[in-house]
Symmetry: C2
Subunit: 313 residues, 2 copies
């Protein structure tokens, strides 16, 4: 199945307790597309960059089945740039620089070949841009997923709530779910969000894993599934982990084209597996060197991590 990915393609400078990298490739759409490329080679990317982006990276993306027809390249301008420094716990970070550059007036234009896709992943961007993408679709996709962040809740809540009405699945972190609903209990927050548009909700909890909520569209019953994060010896760089998680999840759904709760659960585990790889190296490095057997081996580690028999054999 085809997958439309919208989001940033950018440069990052990152400092973690394990080291420091300057001007490396980053961006939500980059991480989402790379993670999804292990599951489908019909990925259509929508983003904007300057003329400063390395041709080899773009060629790499193309070679992985990522269609760049929707990637605008602005001559004489610079790509979006973010610099951040992670604290020792790697759960919190300070943003040092945010240079919007080409992103400041980004108007996503979908090529004709993009308007009838099966799956859509709207990466974290201003809600107005996310809406503009949906407005250009000529066919209702099988699934529209979106990511967002607290910044838009603070600065563009009405537009955010507007886009939310038009999506099937939202990915959001636990603090954002609480902020969006005013509910501390994640179960109550989920119930509220599932009245705002989406019927599938993924609450990301970083090193504590992720919760999947599905509101059954027939009987309104709330189904809950939990996937842990893999306990790792070292997390080198958490940048992009949430996007990689979303990319693995939506990529697996596009591959299997099965939106049953059982398959959504598997998709959540595939997303967790891809995220667990992402953090093992800086930038997108690990996401460009994986193979399917490694991914399947990690899925099996996830299964063993949580599997128990109710009774003594």
């Amino acid at each position: 199945m085809s997958l439309l990915v919208v989001g940033t393609v950018a440069f990052d400078s990152i400092e973690t307790p394990y080291g420091k990298v300057d001007q490396v490739v980053g961006g939500a759409a980059t991480y989402i597309s790379l993670a999804a490329s292990y599951f489908t080679n019909q990925i259509k990317l929508v983003s904007v960059i300057g003329d400063d982006f390395p041709k080899e990276t773009l060629d790499d993306l193309t070679s992985r089945g990522i269609d760049l027809e929707g990637l605008q390249i602005r001559q004489g301008e610079k790509s979006f740039f973010w610099a951040g420094k992670y604290h020792n716990d790697l759960n919190t970070r300070d943003t040092l620089v945010t240079d919007l550059n080409v992103l400041a007036d980004f108007d996503p234009v979908l090529p004709d070949t993009y308007t009838a896709v099966d799956y859509v992943m709207l990466g974290n961007l201003t809600p107005a841009v996310q809406r503009r993408v949906l407005d250009q679709l000529t066919h209702r996709p099988r699934l529209v997923a979106m990511d967002t962040m607290n910044f838009w809740m603070d600065h563009a809540l009405d537009e955010l709530l507007d886009v939310l009405k038009r999506v099937d699945m939202l990915t959001i972190n636990d603090e954002e779910a609480r902020q969006l609903t005013g509910e501390y209990s994640l179960v109550k927050a989920a119930q509220r969000i599932l009245t705002m548009g989406p019927h599938i909700l993924v609450i990301k909890k970083g090193e504590h894993g992720a919760l999947l909520f599905l509101k059954d569209q027939d009987d309104e019953e709330l189904h809950i599934f939990y996937a842990p994060a893999m306990p790792l010896m070292d997390v080198f760089d958490p940048t992009g982990a949430g996007d990689t998680f979303a990319g693995g999840m939506i990529g697996y759904l596009a591959q299997t084209d099965d939106l049953s709760f059982d398959n959504l659960k598997r998709a959540l585990v595939y997303g967790s597996a891809m995220a667990s790889f992402c953090v093992e190296k800086f930038s997108i490095e690990k996401l460009t060197e994986l193979d399917v057997p490694q991914i399947l081996e990690r899925i099996e580690r996830f299964r063993r991590l949580v599997h128990f028999d109710r009774e003594n054999a």
Copy 2:
């Protein structure tokens, strides 16, 4: 199998966003014993109280198979008292009052019928008291488990490390595991702790669940299992949840007398189930009104929460 439980039996005054209770029954040994009493009726409690403790509570404990021969009752003195107020997130709390009272000079004396027990749970107490209990055992138990807290790391680290050498299993929270080892990664922290004495380690993460680590005594391999906390609509009172978790776990082990990794996993889930009940009401209330079918139903909910099939059926 018999189970020796050492810890506080106390009064608590608790304020949470859901209400306030004064001078209710609390204490680590109370929660541990009550949770374990659903699995074994051979519980031998060691603690100390004043003459202010309600006889009905003691009768309740006795009727649940909890032997109180080792409970010292000091005439003219008052029981240990703790008062605390939880913040809105229920993950953090302020201690308002700690009156040690009878606990200040507690010298645990084991009755003769207590010295050859099968399982031991040393609740959080000063390490010197925990050691005194171990010194009085005439037979090596099948399993000695202990709980502790950051206070003893700050104030009695040498004694703590000393007791640690003599136990099989440690339960500790994530921040304490990091403090004890100086390692941020919980996998690295676990590896360090598993060289300090215990070969089984449970790292409690509150609303984020618990991790079980077993160092195989033959091949030194590290086995990891993760049990989530049950996502709940409301958490009324987190007091005693960690002790209830430990009590459910050790009680299940005493019932099944099987220390295989598969059974330790089940024990972790039983502990999580008991803790998920504990927080649904104030004080020990919920722990006195459960029945086995309710517990089994919750175990099934835990299984469904994490179970996934690797492949499409």
